[in-house]
């Protein structure tokens, strides 16, 4: 009998596992895959290392900072800042047809850009920042207020408003068009007020650190151990049944598999109201270059682009919507040494159903076709790198489903979050994306928070 079984070895499950193991709980993480990381994973393909998920670690604060989620996470997991080897971004931008706003880990750059390009809005931006919900008041990301309404009451320029929303929705919008103002505050802080960084070795460094820590503390990890069913008795989890038929028992179960996905594992699911599966998914093209992107004049870390004055954050009808996207170059961080290869990754909104119905030959062709479309669209906003490409790969909404188990490849989970982490069963809790947190740092904080609140007490 375990104290806690954790479903999923993504960021949130690993962080929760470390907390529990540190305080001598008998804890076992069950992961369906043969590798850890969930959406934040990595793989080798034709002799090269690729990251899934991670563009940049958000919430970057420099060594010694005591406030903010990164500092909190390090303290809670007993990790030293240096272990993450975080290199800050060079600088990013938001690019719309005739305006570009640069930003960096120094918020004043964005303020001066706004002052230059939207002179009347500079003070309004400052007022908006003063209105942001504080992390301390954010037991939940849920204020019940529409971010578009609140932001619109400060920022009086439609275009600027779209430009501010574009990165925040891309990096954390589980709903179409809008988000809760609490969620907006979290995202605004994590990207604009704190900042972006990346370890030279990418997400694998962070994952290795977490799993080593978990195991040193006596935690147990089972790979290729997908949970097939949660047996329910008297309003509680009785046991967890794995795909291979074996059964495990625990006092409590913490799932990072997504809320609707977890509820569907429960025996009593037909009687339980489940939120809708999220609609938003992504495609991403990965281009490996034989030069460093900066040698082509591409020195931005991340460029959020949109090719009209209005940003449409919604599920497209086409397989992908290349009107907007995120162009990330992992080379453009301030490392001590350059990355071996040049890399440009481009992410756009995508339609899960259009990809899921393809047979394998059609899927392969669609990947090639949409790779070309994504890149052709993006090079309107960054220097054309196509002559330097030596290898490519592409991930789609079905890849996201494979890595996360989220139905419909919903990147940020369901639009209806369960902020308190509880479910209809008294010993079943959820953490991660569907508890209302996104990103590497956010979901880890979620795992820590739910573990502290419900799983460490006894």
């Amino acid at each position: 009998m375990y104290d806690t079984i954790i479903i999923g070895a993504g960021m949130s499950g690993l962080a929760a596992g470390i907390r529990l193991a540190h305080f001598d709980k008998r804890v076992c993480i069950l992961e369906r895959h043969s590798a850890i990381g969930g959406l934040n994973s990595f793989y080798r393909h034709r002799g090269r290392d690729y990251d899934v998920g991670l563009h940049a670690v958000t919430n970057y604060t420099p060594k010694g900072a005591r406030r903010g989620p990164l500092a909190k996470l390090l303290r809670q997991l007993r990790l030293a800042w240096d272990e993450w080897s975080l290199a800050p971004q060079v600088g990013s931008s938001i690019a719309f047809p005739d305006v570009e706003l640069k930003f960096s880990n120094d918020f004043e750059l964005l303020v001066s850009e706004v002052a230059q390009k939207f002179p009347k809005q500079k003070d309004n931006l400052r007022r908006l920042v003063a209105e942001l919900t504080d992390y301390d008041q954010l037991g939940t990301g849920d204020t019940g207020r529409s971010a578009r309404e609140v932001v619109g009451s400060f920022i009086k320029d439609r275009l600027l408003m779209e430009m501010i929303f574009c990165p925040l929705l891309f990096y954390g919008g589980s709903k179409e068009h809008d988000m809760d103002f609490g969620q907006f505050s979290i995202m605004f802080r994590s990207i604009f007020l704190e900042g972006l960084a990346r370890p030279l070795d990418g997400v694998r460094l962070i994952l290795k650190l977490l799993i080593r820590k978990f195991k040193e503390l006596g935690g147990e990890l089972r790979l290729r151990a997908g949970v097939d069913r949660i047996a329910v008795k008297d309003g509680a989890v009785e046991k967890v049944v794995l795909a291979n038929g074996s059964e495990l028992q625990a006092r409590r179960v913490l799932s990072s598999a997504g809320l609707p996905e977890t509820l569907r594992l429960c025996d009593d699911c037909p009687n339980v109201e489940s939120p809708e599966v999220g609609r938003l998914s992504f495609v991403e093209s990965i281009s490996v270059l034989d030069v460093q992107p900066c040698s082509l004049g591409h020195d931005r870390t991340i460029v959020f682009y949109n090719d009209s004055d209005e940003f449409h954050y919604e599920k497209p009808n086409e397989p992908a919507d290349v009107r907007s996207g995120v162009i990330c170059s992992p080379n453009n961080f301030v490392y001590g040494q350059p990355l071996a290869d040049g890399v440009v990754r481009i992410t756009s909104l995508a339609n899960f159903d259009r990809w899921a119905k393809l047979d394998s030959e059609a899927y392969r062709r669609a990947k090639l076709h949409w790779y070309d479309n994504l890149v052709a669209s993006a090079v309107r906003f960054v220097p054309d790198f196509r002559d330097s490409v030596i290898d490519t790969d592409m991930f789609t909404p079905t890849t996201i489903r494979r890595y996360t188990g989220h139905h419909s490849g919903a990147v940020y989970g369901t639009a209806k979050k369960r902020y308190d982490g509880t479910t209809h069963l008294k010993n079943l809790y959820i953490c991660g994306t569907d508890q209302g947190f996104v990103g590497i740092i956010g979901t880890s904080i979620s795992g820590i928070g739910v573990a502290n609140r419900y799983l460490l007490k006894m």
Binding site: F23, R78, L456
Partner: protein
């Protein structure tokens, strides 16, 4: 444990929670909150580390006793005097 040993025990816990902090000139009479910006999650951790390491139970209504090094040591003295 002597008073000095208890202080050392608390310092060890703080060093574990905040490995990047320089604790060498931690003042006894200034709150942890003001010196290290510890928050409620961190206070809970001090309590849990004390329980894990020395089997000391601290009821929730007494967490406020752990505000500074001085008050923490004073509060722990009767509880830890028999700890080896």
């Amino acid at each position: 444990m002597t008073t000095a040993e208890i202080r050392k025990a608390v310092l060890d816990i703080l060093a574990d929670i905040a490995p990047d902090e320089d604790l060498s000139d931690l003042k006894d009479d200034v709150t942890f909150r003001d010196q290290l910006e510890l928050d409620s999650m961190d206070f809970l951790d001090i309590v849990m580390e004390l329980r894990k390491r020395y089997r000391i139970q601290i009821p929730e209504e007494e967490y406020t006793e752990l505000a500074s090094m001085g008050s923490t040591v004073k509060y722990l003295e009767p509880l830890m005097k028999d700890v080896e």
